[in-house]
Amino acid sequence: MNPVPTGLAAAGVLAATGAAVALVLPARWRSAAVGVATAGVGAAGAAAGVAAVSGHGWRAEYPDVLPLAGVSLAVDPLAGWFLLLTGAVAVVVGVYAIGYAGRGGHGPGARGPLALLPVFVAAMLLVPAAADVPTFLLAWELTAVTSLLLVLVEHRHGPAVLPAGLWYAVMTQAGFVTILIGLVWLAAAAGDPSFAAIQDAAGGLSGPVRGGVFVLCVAGFAAKAGAVPLHPWLPRAHAEAPAHVSALMSAAMVKLGVYGIVRLGFDLLGGGPRWWWLALGAVGMLSALYGILQAAVATDLKKLLAFSTSENVGLILLGLAAAGLLASAGQPAVAAVALAAALLHAANHAGFKALLFCGAGSVLRGTGVRDLDRLGGLSRRMPATTALVCVGALGAAALPLGNGFVSEWLLLQALLHQATDAGTLWTVVAPVAVAVVALTAGVGVATFVKVVGTGFLARPRGEEAAAARESPPSMVAGMVLAAAACCALAVLPALAGPALDRVTAGLRAGPRPFEGGAVDLRLAGVGSTIAPLWIAAGVVGLAVATAVMARLAGRPRRRAAAWDCGDGPLTARMEYTATSFAEPLQRVFDDVLAPEQDVDVTPAAESAYLVRSVQYRRRLPDRIEARLYRPLIAAVEVAGRAARGLATGSVHRYLAYMLAALILVLFAAAVR
């Protein structure tokens, strides 16, 4: 019995039952039932993914399901990797949603949003399994529509939700249209819409066709993945969506964009000229730098995490670009390592980003605010959330015991490898890429120290933070699952080795990148090893030994209060806020960020020289949005207003429009 189709079928059945149950059950049991159903969908999908990366393939065709096109499914190791990723995130989110959606039956706990949740997960599982263009596009659009409805769930809570939904809707639809045009063009040029036929025929297509298809599809996939400059929807939608939806979108849905690029660039088109990968790499580097800079100066917790997603997507795209460039430069071994690094980083990012978004949701539930400037001191009242968010932040900062470290190490190994015969282009591009990764990692550490330090440690800076409540056990359980996955990936990355071997082999991207090793990760072509388990054991051992020896040394100790400069207790007003923590960094990157500052001085009534109050306001706009999108939106508005002049109210004019159109079409038909 092939586990893959059983897993996918189980996922489908569970999704349908979950949706039906959500519409039928009373509010008390709704969120629990749907949470369990979603976790079940995720587990079934992940099981199918595990089976696929262990070598079980599967393909099937259902010609009657869709009119004209039919549904065609195929699961290979690449699809299995993304099924596993999506399924695992869905398990975490399902368990988490039991507590987050609550028992009240409103907001995220209402019938509609809960019914959509398992459907969204099932649609995301369908995308990697699609094996021809119509199925892929159908699954893609289904994901987009369900996620849009889920983003708009809390539209009564604030004025920012509807514009966020509008941005998301427009950008995701625009991306869909570009992907549609690209894939349909490819299918028309190849003569058959199935991926297998396209793969066979792609070698014979001309350069401009391949290039055009690549550009169009990558633009659409990059928009879904949230790469700069197609990112403005990401911070808005993720900040306004409910936390479990943000976790699903950021950890699983943006990876579908990455999946699309890998499938198209490496599998269907089978590699391409260097300018493709240079362009992709440029987008990746821009994304990584801009994303982490905006995250470093953001004070809204969810907006910060959304920009961090942009940054990580940039790193993944950089890995893919490196793999493509190395493959076209004749270095297949190192290319395989770069590809494995990108895919592993996708998995790691899914793990820690799901955890962090769930943590942000916990904070929002417990305090009601998500502004880091007003938080602080949560470690005392929300200890479980603080500990789990620390695990996620360690992974996101890519420090040695976190899971982000392993994939960034892999990426740097591929970039730093001394490829003497890889050509001048590689020798010029690789150091730039290394510099970008290093800068990103540095700023990333600062960002997540800011998150943990100003958000969770020290003392509460507001009454909401002082009155924080710990989350219910189901939310903590969901986060524990994600943290366990992060720790497993951090300490035993060799678990993913065989799977990644099969994925790269399936894509014919190069020889197997990893060899052997149950505990340490050994790179075959590059000749490096990393053993995080021993590093972790060493660090833990050292810490324990130090503590024991300090205890044994037996010096007299006395307790003393924290030094407070001598005069009076420290208050929360004296702490670093998130804004002040990031201010030196913002000053360094002033030219890039271009903050707008406003100082309002109110003088006293008696004299203009006596000041009653000073108000300082600082805004950090998104410059790319201001430079690129505002003019575009203004142009569209102008065109729209001009087009209203077409509707004057005269019936004759409308009839004349129709006649003109008819004559034009007949003319075109006659001329051909």
Partner: protein, 158 residues
Amino acid sequence: MGLVRRIRERGRVAQPATPRPEPLPAAAGLAGSVQVRHVDAGSCNGCEIEVGQAFGPVYDAERHGVRLVASPRHADVLTVTGPVTVNMAGPLRTTYEAMPRPRMVVAVGDCARDCGMFAGGPGVLGPVGDVVPVDVLVPGCPPEPAAIVAALRGVSGR
């Protein structure tokens, strides 16, 4: 290049070191490394100026192993100037308590010894010896920087 030329032209500014004074037996545990935290408990700032000169380029106390630090947690020696005012008694006591042992107190100036010209003034609590135990006293109003350096050399032994 202008800086290097200026250094060459100016030459050495610091005064030659005087012979070593007697080291204090109680300070033997510090082994020549003395970290100093300074507290102004209510002085007129005259002694502060002299302490500043003592650590400046002319008298250069740092060549004898004495260094100013910013926190009492890092300090071995507490230098106090001025008569202790009512408002500064608590902070002075807290600063002394925050220092790890072994610790010493150096009272600088006549006001630290016996309130000097401020004796009996409103807001004045008493000399430093009333609030914290004093180990070394540097008399003078204000004392010369050389005297301050000599007192600190007695603590460092260098």
